[in-house]
Symmetry: C2
Subunit: 422 residues, 2 copies
């Protein structure tokens, strides 16, 4: 992001940005790019769910899905998602409507019950820490904060977290009990973990015997191109490396069918699955199996899931293309920002000049464009470079999105040139 | 349970019981009275749920129920249940498919986050204890056991727990942080708490400032007679007594609509509701609002709920009448047992001679009649008198139920006379 502009040229660009911003602010916009919410048209794709299961109330094995029981969830639904989540159906658990709940509950159970392979509960340790690849997902960080778990940022690379750093930290500190990973089309920067990263995660030596990888595969089937990315199978790699219990896999249909009324999944080694089922058995008499049957009837099978995600992509891809097109047109060559071109997932990461992110978000909000707070992509809301902005293009309509991104680009120019002039 | 039988008469009765048991065992029965599960016919009453909400996906205020958000649940659903649960709709939370989950999570949050009004978390205390009125609900006890919470049994009376005992224990021991209550048609003995009991619970002095009543109003609308029992409003009584945060109210539609696919509720003071919402906000992006809308459309309003429960009663009442009729015919006047005649709820409590319950359950199982394990109604599975057996008449068909109860009566005679002869 160097510049060789003359002082006059810079002043001219700043003046132009100020005029553009005045113009923007005068338009009384009210646009929201904060969260990765599906748009109504995406939810409409699953409209049939709303009248299913219709006259049917038994699962494939004859279970009455309306009654209590069936803690592991319907086998036929687990079969549909086994491939996408890279977990054998027998080691997969279909639960409620939120994978975040499952992550929360795994932390709770690790805090209050001993994990397989160890003798003491996390709550008895003086200190617990998690590695947090940054930029990352703010709701992961909020869980750590809520439970008093220290967060240690680890830089992301194009292949996933910097594994030299990860390997060093997990080897030297037994308080490091976990790492948050969004391995495919990661939130927010769209990174897909390389095979080498997965292999190193599976085989690295950890000082903590109860170290767990929280593998939040939220975007496993959420492709945006003709070349769907495949990542290596971490659960299998861990088993092969002699660390079978190292990984908790999470996923959900929140961004497949309905964001509030989908089904969440947990997958792991047999020992970990038994551990979670045992703890869940005290908490619940079973998940909503009617909703699971509804999903089975709607998606049918793995091919049905894939076909459904093609329809999702048809709605989402134009939005991501619009973001790229506008950012390129408005900010390309300015040296003021870089941005990601994700091949899937829900986010674009915009990186502005150091020290500018908060101010860009503030100026955008004043012009009626609400963004995720700057810093949210980092533990404790603290982006030390104050450079990362997360863009969530899914929810607004295409026209609104174009307005919002163009407006955001104005703010980036305004704040960027202001900083350079200073 | 005294008897003035001559030795000969007793021998004759025992011989007859032995013959009857041989006959019973030879019939190859396979009957299950273990759990309070709704029968398929009861679930059929809510068949319309399976194709709702149909074409609709917005709540009364225009919220798209398919998307994220709405942590407190749909206001219109909370309105329907506010009266039945005696909680103002604004202080009621509509959640997932299980009230047991909400109880579990309240314990988790109390262990790991400070409750309103105190400074430290339960997990930091050396010892936590709960009062457990006995006989009681085994899943409550299992939650305490899972979290290492000591359980102190308190005898039940016809008006609820023995309040002299409760008042003494909560006043003298700050480790006593809670009490389990099923205040209406209690599990398993059908007791309804008297107004005096509710008043004393609300106003008693507790050594623990963060003492909580876990008010599991599971059978609030589950009447079995023409005279529905009304209990006093504990939440209001606590507020009036200056202990507004003392009560957590729980309820669900598990035994109203669908046992696995209903909606659970939590109600409390504004401070406690904010506390739970704040903790839930880290765990979830909202409950399944589609299922909540489904329930609103199906039940319509409080009158619709009442009418639906009349239809439930029409299916359940004959089963409870059959239990009473058969026990009376087979065991009346024998002095071998007493049993409850609940005006609502899901259970009949059969009390046999001290030292006989486990053996009755064992003999019944050998004859193909499976009952809840003796002792399950007491903390740690330990009924010191070995006298209480819980009967769950809801699930079997009427003919099967009649067979099972008649068979159970044979076992009571067999074990009872065997004991007397010894």
């Amino acid at each position: 992001m160097t510049t060789e502009l003359s002082p006059d040229a810079l002043t001219g660009l700043l003046d132009q940005a100020r005029r553009d911003y005045q113009d923007l602010a005068g338009r009384g916009l009210s646009l929201d790019l904060t969260r990765g919410k599906p748009a109504p048209e995406q939810l409409d794709l699953s409209e049939d769910l709303l009248s299913l299961p219709g006259g049917r109330h038994t699962s494939a094995d004859g279970t009455d899905v309306r009654n209590y029981g069936g803690l592991q969830g319907l086998p036929e639904l687990r079969e549909i998602f086994a491939g996408a989540l890279q977990v054998p159906a027998a080691q997969l658990l279909a639960a409620g409507n939120s994978s975040l709940e499952l992550m929360h509950d795994c932390l709770v159970h690790a805090l209050l019950s001993v994990l397989p392979g160890v003798e003491s509960r996390w709550v008895e340790q003086e200190r617990i820490a998690f590695l947090c690849p940054v930029p990352g997902y703010d709701r992961h960080f909020a869980l750590c904060e809520r439970f008093g778990i220290d967060m240690i940022p680890v830089p992301m690379t194009a292949e996933g977290p910097d594994m030299d750093v990860v390997e060093r930290l997990v080897a030297e500190d037994p308080a490091v009990k976990g790492i948050w990973c969004v391995p495919k089309y990661s939130n927010p920067d769209g990174v897909c973990y390389s095979d080498a990263t997965v292999a190193r995660l599976a085989s690295m030596t950890t000082a903590a015997p109860d170290f767990r990888i929280f593998w939040d595969n939220a975007y496993a089937v959420h492709h945006l191109t003709d070349e769907p990315v495949a990542i290596a199978d971490l659960l299998a790699a861990c088993a092969e490396a002699g660390n079978p219990d190292r990984t908790f896999v999470f996923g959900s249909t929140s961004k497949i069918t309905a964001a509030g009324a989908g089904v969440a999944f947990f997958g792991s080694s047999p020992a970990n699955v038994q551990w979670l089922l045992g703890n869940n058995a005290k908490r619940s008499i079973g998940p909503d199996k009617v909703n699971q049957l509804r999903h089975v009837m709607f998606l049918q099978d793995a091919e049905g899931l894939q076909a459904h995600m093609e329809r999702q992509r048809a709605l989402l891809q134009p939005k991501f293309e619009a973001v790229a097109r506008i950012l390129d047109a408005e900010l390309g060559g300015t040296g003021l920002a870089t941005w990601t071109s994700p091949k899937g997932g829900y986010f674009v990461t915009l990186e502005v000049q150091d020290g500018c992110a908060k101010e860009v978000v503030r100026r955008a909000a004043e012009a009626g464009i609400v963004l995720t707070p700057a810093g949210a992509t980092h533990p404790y809301g603290d982006d030390p470079r104050d450079a990362v902005i997360r863009i969530a293009p899914s929810y607004p309509g295409l026209a609104e999105l174009e307005q919002a991104i163009a407006g955001l680009a104005v703010c980036v120019r305004l704040v960027g040139y202001e900083q350079r002039v200073r």
